[in-house]
Amino acid sequence: MQKSEYQDCRQKKPRFIPWLALVLALALLPIIGIIKGNFLSHVLVMILLNASMAQAWNIIGGYAGQISFGHSVFFGIGAYGAAYAVTTLKITPYPGMIVGALIACVVALIIGYPTFRLKGHYFAIATFAIVEVFNRLFMIWDTVGGAIGLDYPILKDGWRNFTWSRTKVGYYYGALILFVLIFSIVRTMEHAKFGYYLKAIREGQETAESLGVNSRRYKLLAMALSAAMAAFCGAFFAQYNYRVDPSMVLSLDMSMKFVLITILGGIGTLWGPLLGAAILIPLQEYTRAYLARLGPGIDLIIFGIIIILMMEFQPRGLMGILENLRKPSHALVKRSNTNSVQNNRLKGHLGGKQ
């Protein structure tokens, strides 16, 4: 086969250098001293955390196209796992985080197993329901503090306890690790069999099955992975806030955050969750800080307006806008080229035949 003909279908490999540069830049931020102020570092921690949360959701919601409104449950289980380990068992949060992630997987499979067989919106509805179920459950469950929740004792700073009381730099690196972990997974997945299969299921389950994809199995795998990652984020959240209670983590508000950040940034794209979080979190934190006198929830009002505008004008989110900026003229030229090439080649082929 002539190799030159294939040059057109570029090898779409994940580019490593920009990714490495981004991670290094983020890692160097505190050293350069840019994030001295505690509020700014709080905002950066929240951006990284929320980007990770949104990316976790993106696996099942964006790539596999199964919209879940239940991710606050997995998030909450992770948070309670870490908090329970620290406050009640008096150990480090890490085992609690792992166990929390495993339980989140199991819950995800229990929801997914019956609903992934059905077509339509049953999965989304079921995920809606479990948020309420888990909220009430944790409200009345005394072992985990009921409605009061779990308050952390005073602990020594450091990685062992995942606790830093003076600066937020420790948390910043913690969030960065979380971010790198989840984004690396999705980055690898995107160009591997798993990612292709998830996208195929999203674009057409029947087609995917005709190509040998066991759609239910892959959806369950995606759901479990997504839930475990959300649980890790939850564990971080509990450590960061130094406490956890049901309304903090197990709420529809929290679930919507997973969904909306991803939609704003660009659903089913690698960088969408980061973009969405980078826009939304500063907006949320700064409006809370500076416009608080206008009343509570002002950030949510602005947030809502942005989402409505986005849905109206660019459903593919910020990534869609960026793509349009990058290649409108370029795309036109290319299209007309390929058409004429195709026509010529067809003519040549048929000419030879007749």
Binding site: M1, G204, S210, S215, L350
Partner: protein, 262 residues
Amino acid sequence: MSALLEIRNVTMKFGELVADRDVSFNVEAGTICGLIGPNGAGKTTLFNCIAGYYKPSKGEIFFKGNRISGLPPHEITKLGIARTFQVVKPLKEMSVLDNIMVGAFLHHSRASEARKIAQYCLSLCFLEDFGDKPAGELPIGSKKRLEIARALATEPSLLLLDESISGLTSTEIHEMLEMIRRLRDKGITILMVEHIMEAIMPLANTIVVLSHGEKIAEGQPQSIVHNQEVITAYLGEKFVKKMNMQNQIMLTDAGDKKGDTP
């Protein structure tokens, strides 16, 4: 000795509606078998039974001697039966190459290998120039070829083509026929549903005719064209009488000059 695909007494009912009644036939390895019949004859239903989308109400289907009726679609694809859809179903947001890669991943877990297979299938189906275009933007002829390319990427031994020719321009039809012939020469057995007679006659080794869910004829294309029952099923009794009076056979009103001279 046994055929590649054996369909034994397959009946498919939807409630009380019988889409296929007691259909049996074999597809021999290395041949092109055409499945024809008027609209609503149960061709696509039979296809869906073979590909695992429906479980036959009665009867069994064997592939390479193994029973496959009742298996889910993805299992059947793994065994080596790939299908295309009558109403094309491109994975719209994915590029053409990525579409085909999904098929190639069945037997090749590594992306680089899958890409190689996909590029080969791309060229087999004359789609090289569309590789990184979103599949949703292709014109219909190319979408039909994409269906085939994608199915090919799963490396099937039996390819089920559901009306891959209908809806194409005459240029596209010629190209498609050429492509199908090429696939057979590569050793892929083909079972194709079609109702454009002129297209399938010169191509198929055997033809099975369904009408109202029942098999009414089976044989070589020449014998099918002259089969009284088939002509009746397609054109109605009145027309057959009139035609007999004029002592003229063949589907003159279909309009292709070389359709009846395979």
